[in-house]
Symmetry: C2
Subunit: 394 residues, 2 copies
Amino acid sequence: MQPDCAQLDTFLSDEDADLYLIEADSDDANQLYLSGFDASDPFETAYAAETGETQLLVSGLEYGRAKKESRADQVYRHADFGFEYGDREERYDMYASFLSRVADVEATDLTVAVPSSFPLGSAEQLRERGVELVVDADGTIDGMRAVKTDEEIDNVQDAQRANEAAMRAAEALIDAAAVDEDGTLVSNGEPLTSERVRSEIEITLLRHGCSLDETIVACGSQAADPHDRGSGPLSAGEPIIVDIFPKSKATGYHSDMTRTFSKGGPSETIREWYDLTREALEAALAAVEPGATGADVHDAACEVYEAAGEPTLRSEPETETGFIHSTGHGVGLDVHESPSLSPSGGELEAGHVITVEPGLYDPAHGGVRIEDIVVVTEDGYENITDYPIELVVE
Amino acid sequence: MQPDCAQLDTFLSDEDADLYLIEADSDDANQLYLSGFDASDPFETAYAAETGETQLLVSGLEYGRAKKESRADQVYRHADFGFEYGDREERYDMYASFLSRVADVEATDLTVAVPSSFPLGSAEQLRERGVELVVDADGTIDGMRAVKTDEEIDNVQDAQRANEAAMRAAEALIDAAAVDEDGTLVSNGEPLTSERVRSEIEITLLRHGCSLDETIVACGSQAADPHDRGSGPLSAGEPIIVDIFPKSKATGYHSDMTRTFSKGGPSETIREWYDLTREALEAALAAVEPGATGADVHDAACEVYEAAGEPTLRSEPETETGFIHSTGHGVGLDVHESPSLSPSGGELEAGHVITVEPGLYDPAHGGVRIEDIVVVTEDGYENITDYPIELVVE
């Protein structure tokens, strides 16, 4: 995938900078996006304003792979600047030589733009060598990444197909479980726990070419904390939030989907919350179109909850129950990226890939969340989630 | 686990700093170590020189979990400083107020030590608010992490037990495979590929409570690039490097082990390389003791190879074949951490957990690597690897 670097060109021109520099490993999504190189140790990527070329500086160990796999126009290794092992001073001399080579400008005349996340230690060393650094506080590459190409949307959809298979596996385990006399779900003679369901989800994702760092399978009062990952036995009649956000190993793109299940009928409150959350989801989705803001979409969800008397962070900024998070976020090389569907969310554009995930939480009752993933289109949105929205698993 | 912060106290005292600050998510091992909090969004951890207290600043969404799970003496949420959603200026005002609260010093009088990786964007914002920042270029917390407590060593051993189970699963697949007429390994009627072996390794690790980002299963000429992860069908009579570095999901600690297998007899060169690499492993291990340096251990491995006429980076800095990487590295919350067994490797101490991984590489022949993980003890080392060193799988 060749990123469209027009925004980067404009930014560099506005800042009168010679190049844009990222120093990070490829867990940094901007690094992966700009370099096209997946490496677990930090390396340097420089994008030259003058030529539009992307050039990499890697260790000798990564050189062969970087030449084959990255999207860089040019790959240098440390030895190209006379560095193998050495001290910090020698390392930064090499680093400055690399930047100078990329921009064809003496280090002492270089102006280099870097993201906010750029390491302060390197910044100080480069400044000591006469390089002027400009912080890209608005995250130009984050902005570029928000609008996806068709290929990127396909990549998210592939991850979403794996996600649906994993959700089916999780629901099937809950569906097939027996219920013992105290309400605990039982599968193959053992309590069915969050951990067992999570393991089934992860194995399903692996078989579909995806990996993940974590998954939420949270039951009862655990479900009332949106970031609780869940542990221990699952119980009948209580809400079980299953939130899965896999990454495709082949492409690095994520998806993100949440469903809430109840084995057998839940409490009246949870039923009401579920219907209300579904209504909030539909209202939020109806607000999605180019030109609307992330704040508009968030407001649409808040209005449904507030009209039903449920607290939101908008109506009660200090609340710890009710709708206590934003309505959604962009998804791509990061599972949380631009745009934001929150009070600070800016204008939506065609090609944005976003999740919409309203929910209600209260430790006294548990929690409910429903999350679909959609693509903003020229005239609204396309929902790329293919999974039923049903609470009760009998 | 409560880290021993004596080195940090000394560093802060030497720098006359009021506190040590980390801003990162818990993928940053120093953040996880100091905060004891596992979170996928960035947060702030401040260690106060005066009180030795660790204090966290997290979003409202993480507040409940941070209070329960972190090792912090005090957890603040954004709202404690009057911030919910807001612009960058308000966010950094909150951030400076937090630091001021932790150290009980006005922001304009604060001296704050930060790691080299500290984000430049935040550094500039804090400096604008009068905070003086000092870069901890030598990585005080990296140094603290290198020496493990008994609990941390147990955590690595747990990950290593999972690693051994995964290696057994990989070897069993190779062992059970048939060989078709062109030498391709066949399992269940399909070519046995790097991808299938990797999938079996990953599923085994998941079942043992571990996860991983990547695994190397590289055959033939792929094995000649130490960072090639491998793809496609495996062949008989060629070296297959299997390098597994899992992370325990419960503790965050890693292990790391490599074996090289050949289905049926390999070439004479690969046999010689294997015996030589085993000899280099033994020589390097024999050099491991407190007071020896990482450079000494690396030299011991290089000497075995050089005596046999194989190039090393020590004898031929520009070589692309032979022993083309360092001899090993520390393992803990990061899979690569201090100390280093390389020309720049400093003194070993009891409690260091290190891998020793000599290897030989040449695209014309393939590659061989053998890697054990050991703990440096008062009088030498304890090898915590329990897996045979055997090349040929019949």
